[in-house]
Amino acid sequence: MEAILLVMPALAAVMLVLLLPTLNSLRMSLTNFSLSRPGPFDFVGLQNYRAALRIGEFQRSIRNTFVFTAVGVMFQVSLGLVLALLLNRALKLRGLLRATILFPWALPTALNAIVWRWMYNADLGVFNFLLLQSGLVQQRINWLGASNLAMGSMIFVAVWKTSSFMALIILTGLQTIPDDLYEAAIIDGASPWQRFRRITFPFVAPAIVLSMLLRSMDAFRAFELPFTLTEGGPAGTTQTISLYGYRQLFQFLNFDRGSAVAVLQFLMLLVLGIVYIVILRKREKAL
């Protein structure tokens, strides 16, 4: 009884700032409430959802978000694993190195994105300057302006920024491996690849799945990066679901459609989360 009382204030705060707005979004997504159509509003059932899913721009933003998440997380986890393996060695200045690689992750995304926008700038940016000076290319590359390049450029920034975060989580998994396992394997004549495949990987697999779960959730909601780097351009090729929802809610004041988009995004995230959790559970049982 006392425990419930003590939890009450925190619970009330959560209810107030989290649950109520969420329920309100759900309610608004079932109405035709929009400030771009003044007047009273009615409940319209699932009409907003049906309408949203038929809009080409929204479909494209879903596709963009999946590409950004899948490709980005794939590179991030690979690079993160390599970084973690390197940092796990008994290097000199290991503490300093570990702190250093966290820099990109620790800086605010919006600031990173502004810096990257200038570096990508086709006329004034450092990338094209170096490429032209070294003679590697003859033409300026329009990193953020060409439809077939912009998404790749954006994913590159995301990989640069968050691989170290992945490395950090995977590193904690690496540190739980007892050294005597490796010693025994070496005595038995196991090759480095066999040691990685049979000892290291099974031990860090849960950490890898966990880091992928956290990262996928984040990437799926990506907003600051596309908002600051490309504003969803060129021609909507880097517009994510979050950016589309933001436009509907805050720029066009279409609370009905914007809320439906937010709820759809939430459902997609839920499915993604369940998939990861099922994978984690299966592994635990297998061990």
Binding site: T230, P234, A235, F250, Q251
Partner: protein
């Protein structure tokens, strides 16, 4: 523990009701408090100085300045949040020229015709007043200062190749070609502007459209996107990319990017807002002495004097319908928009008065020599179709930006883009 909780609660309650107590106390001695929302970004030291003068002359009116964010979209979010909540703060809102249609449609402003005579209103640039006027003739906002998208060129480069200042787009493209080929400098481009997927892209497109003799709104007041002039305008923009007059990078450019390129001496022509002028003419700017401001080109076969139009903008004051001190708010607006105060703002900050007959104001032209050309462009000014699209303007502009950008990036043909934009606009505006 419990005592601590009670104390905290009391403190919170007192803080929450503090403003209400304070307001009540002041109203008791005939003093009223009004709040004015305006971004500090462009108004320098002049605006606070003007407020101090107003306070000194009106001791019974307390004025609080709500310094809103410099990004227009964020300002709008702030106002809309307050207005939906029925708040009386701020009493006066500074509105971007494209907002009045939306604010009027939602009942978020009050008509000001009872406070400003027709003669007073007629002193302002009529295009700006029109942008805040309902179909019934109610005027809902008074302009504070105006700006426009201007045309900039390099006088030295044109003179070097014996070229005159282009008045048509084909002349501009030819001049750009001659200069860029003659200079043989791989870093030099012919034309730069803000063609990223932003509001500035739509303003650019409108200037092309007007220069082709077209208009976004047809004779019956219907928003017409898919027209012969529209195709001509968009084909010209696509052509400038295809022919290399404008570099591909322009598709990612916002005003500051274009300005940075031009200021480095790397573009012959530029089309952006007037705020870049003080920056590109700074003493350490390599182009300070060779840049000129002109008027926007038109299409072949059009008379530049009658066809050319500049996209103009302005910040305008409107009154919150929940305000409890409308009279005091009107007094402040009247003070801030007086001719001498607007001239002073222009002299001190370069943000020019939204009034007629200013091109000959000696104090202004003396302090801001480029103002003469700016006023010529203001006089040719036209506004974006925000009145006709009303509460849907932002979404309509987004439809246009997306489709123009799709055509420029080659994701759609010009005809496809305009047809699709027209279909989406019709669905949005309920035609």
């Amino acid at each position: 523990m419990r005592r601590c909780f009670v104390v905290c609660l009391v403190v919170l309650l007192v803080m929450a009701s503090g403003s209400a107590f304070a307001r009540g106390a002041r109203e008791a001695d005939d003093t009223v408090t009004i709040q004015i929302g305006l971004a500090p970004r462009e108004v320098g030291q002049t605006f606070p100085a003007l407020l101090d003068e107003f306070r000194a002359a009106n001791p019974n009116i307390r004025v609080n300045w709500l310094e809103v964010p410099g990004v227009p979209g964020e300002q709008k979010n702030l106002y809309v949040t307050n207005l939906i909540g029925g708040s009386d703060e701020p009493d006066i809102m500074a509105l971007d020229i494209i907002w009045p249609g939306e604010f009027i449609a939602n009942g978020w402003t009050i008509p000001l015709n009872d406070y400003f005579t027709d003669a007073e209103l007629a002193e302002f640039n009529p295009a700006l007043i029109d942008a805040a006027t309902t179909l019934d003739g109610e005027v809902h906002a008074i302009p504070f200062y105006q700006n426009a998208v201007h045309f900039f060129y390099r006088r030295d480069l044109l003179e070097k190749y014996n070229l005159s200042v282009p008045t048509t787009w084909s002349e501009l493209e030819e001049a750009a070609r001659v200069v860029v080929e003659g200079e043989n400098n791989p870093d030099l481009v012919g034309y730069t502007s803000m063609w990223a997927q932003i509001e500035g892209l739509f303003m650019n497109y409108l200037q092309f459209l007007w220069g082709a003799g077209g208009n976004m709104v047809d004779a019956r007041g219907r928003v017409a996107v898919d027209t012969a002039e529209g195709r001509k305008a968009l084909n010209q923009m696509v052509g400038m990319l295809d022919r290399g007059t404008a570099p591909e990078s322009i598709l990612t450019y916002r005003p500051n990017d274009a300005m940075a390129l031009f200021r480095q001496g790397r573009s012959v022509f530029m089309v952006v807002q007037g705020f870049v002028w003080p920056i590109i003419t700074e003493p350490d700017s390599p182009v300070a002495d060779v840049v000129e401001m002109g008027s926007i080109p038109v299409f072949d076969g059009q008379n530049p004097e009658t066809t050319r139009r500049h996209a103009i903008g302005a910040w305008m004051f409107a009154i919150n319908p929940n305000s409890r001190n409308v009279d005091a708010a009107v007094e402040l607006i009247r003070f801030l928009t007086r001719e001498e105060n607007q001239v002073r703002l222009g002299v001190e900050t370069g943000n020019l008065p939204p009034r007629l007959g200013m091109e000959n104001n000696p104090a202004l032209i003396d302090a801001v020599p480029i103002a003469a050309q700016q006023f010529r462009n203001f006089a040719l000014g036209d506004v974006r179709p925000s009145v006709h699209t009303g509460e849907n303007y932002t979404e309509f502009s987004d439809i246009m930006q997306r489709h123009i950008h799709s055509a420029l990036t080659g994701n759609m043909s010009v005809n496809q883009a305009l047809r699709s934009a027209q279909a989406e606009a019709d669905a949005l505006l309920g035609k």
